[in-house]
Symmetry: C2
DNA sequence: GTAATAGTGTCTTTAAGACACTATGTA
DNA sequence: TACATAGTGTCTTAAAGACACTATTAC
């Protein structure tokens, strides 16, 4: 750039003269981990790659970011297009940019995590086609450090995952676990009304360990984010539990409680 | 892409024919928040912009990512080049990609956070030049939600921050606070040996609130990450405290403790 | 000795875990 | 009625907060 000359220009003049082609640029993509809980385990939406490279292996739904499109907007477009899902809870996870992570060219991918309840996810997958699969996640790292995660197909065997998507799944599970007990994310896996037992099942699935019933109930009710509906669950062969809904009110005095001192 | 034809190719043949210029691509940059603690407050390194656009305003040290350069490598290059700092603790923060966040062209920036002790930071800034400033951060959001953060210059008045860098600072402080009490990051702000009081001062500065001395001491010593050196601090007009060092051993039985149930 | 902070012992308080018990629906 | 799970009351346990007290160094 002609530095000395530019120093004399106003912002407007500078911008009119600016040539965006000066720097070579990596491709920019988004990949979305759409997570749900099924049968007490975490699962995620995968798409079978129908094109090169790594055709036939399973990938997270993803796509390139358009020039005038925001990152989150791109992620929402991707889940709407490839997953037929809208209005999900969506959160940016991490950006993967190792040279060589994609064999085509330098592709930097901003990974997002989306949460949904199982019914919506399975219904959407059914509508979209059979090159989609909701894969169970085999989460068993040493020491909670979020290494790569395996995904199991319909017959329970591992699926071949494309690119570095096993690692992205690992980061997603790690983030989810870390966030579960100080942010209202468990609700995202459930329909609008749910019982405390269902919520506990979600938490146990995400954390991968059993929780104390009494303590869980106390903590949830004390948190002030649950609202009893007065209604009760149906279709059960025992005493039906109260249905609650998530009250999106601000937590009174601290959802971020983590005392330090 | 000629889809039907590509389906017949092997990965190798496909890649040989792949044209990376098919999709237009945003520019990719990294910005680094270099954080330290000074006089009981958080502070960060800022660089005065000497070029358009927004010449004269203060920005985080940043730069474009080279085509064959990893993201973290780019961040390390930036702090080495613009801040004369090496071997810092570095962590990816968040990726900012709103169209229009940079008036030149679409620039997506991967933000990193680096932690260092004040002595290193101030020494490095002194060596590099006077268009660098270690600015105090005015952190006072409502409800810990990590909104934009103001930076104060030498005379205590606010600095004009470039682009969306006030927001990046906000995310950095939020992340740091959240991480402080379950990850060993407080040590990064201190020299190799330090007293428990110094460590507590760091925690209080990061969290922005006073901590209980007894509890803090108990918790730190119980954590198993501190190692007494046997040496004591000097140059104090009172009983000198024991010096500790950070023992990078794996936490025994759970640094990630956050019980949930 | 005094001043000032480091470091210890112990009581109180809070929240989780454990567990016995009661309540309420279906069959 | 039996059965299964929902929901409550209370004791125990672990850790934070509070605070009094002792220890050690400079002056």
């Amino acid at each position: 750039m002609a530095d000395k000359q530019l120093r004399e220009l106003s912002d407007e003049e500078f911008l009119a003269a600016y040539d965006p082609e000066v720097f070579p640029r990596p491709s920019l993509a988004v990949d979305v981990v759409v997570v749900a809980v099924r049968a007490g385990r975490l699962c995620a939406l995968l798409v079978r790659r129908g094109e090169q490279p790594q055709r036939g292996s399973w990938a997270l739904p993803g796509g390139f970011v358009a020039m005038d499109e925001g990152l989150e907007a791109a992620a929402r477009r991707v889940v709407a297009t490839k997953g037929a899902l809208r209005d999900l809870y969506l959160e940016q996870l991490y950006t993967f940019g190792d040279p060589g992570r994609d064999p085509r060219t330098r592709v930097v991918s901003v990974a997002y995590m989306a949460l949904t309840d199982l019914a919506r996810l399975e219904h959407a997958v059914e509508a979209v086609g059979d090159d989609r699969w909701v894969a169970d996640l085999a989460v068993g790292w040493k020491g909670e450090h979020g290494g790569p995660v395996e995904a199991a197909g319909p017959d329970g065997t591992g699926l071949r995952l494309a690119f570095d998507h096993a690692q992205i799944l690992g980061i997603a599970v790690q983030r989810l676990r870390g966030k579960l007990d100080y942010a209202p994310v468990g609700f995202e896996f459930l329909p609008k009304q749910f019982t405390l037992r269902q919520l506990q099942d979600i938490h146990e699935a995400v954390l991968g360990r059993p929780l104390n019933k009494d303590s869980f109930r106390r903590r949830m009710l004390a948190g002030g984010q649950l609202e009893a509906t007065g209604a009760r669950e149906g279709d059960v062969a025992y005493r039906p539990a109260e249905l609650y809904r998530f009250a999106r009110q601000a937590p009174k005095g601290g959802a971020i409680r983590r005392s330090d001192g």
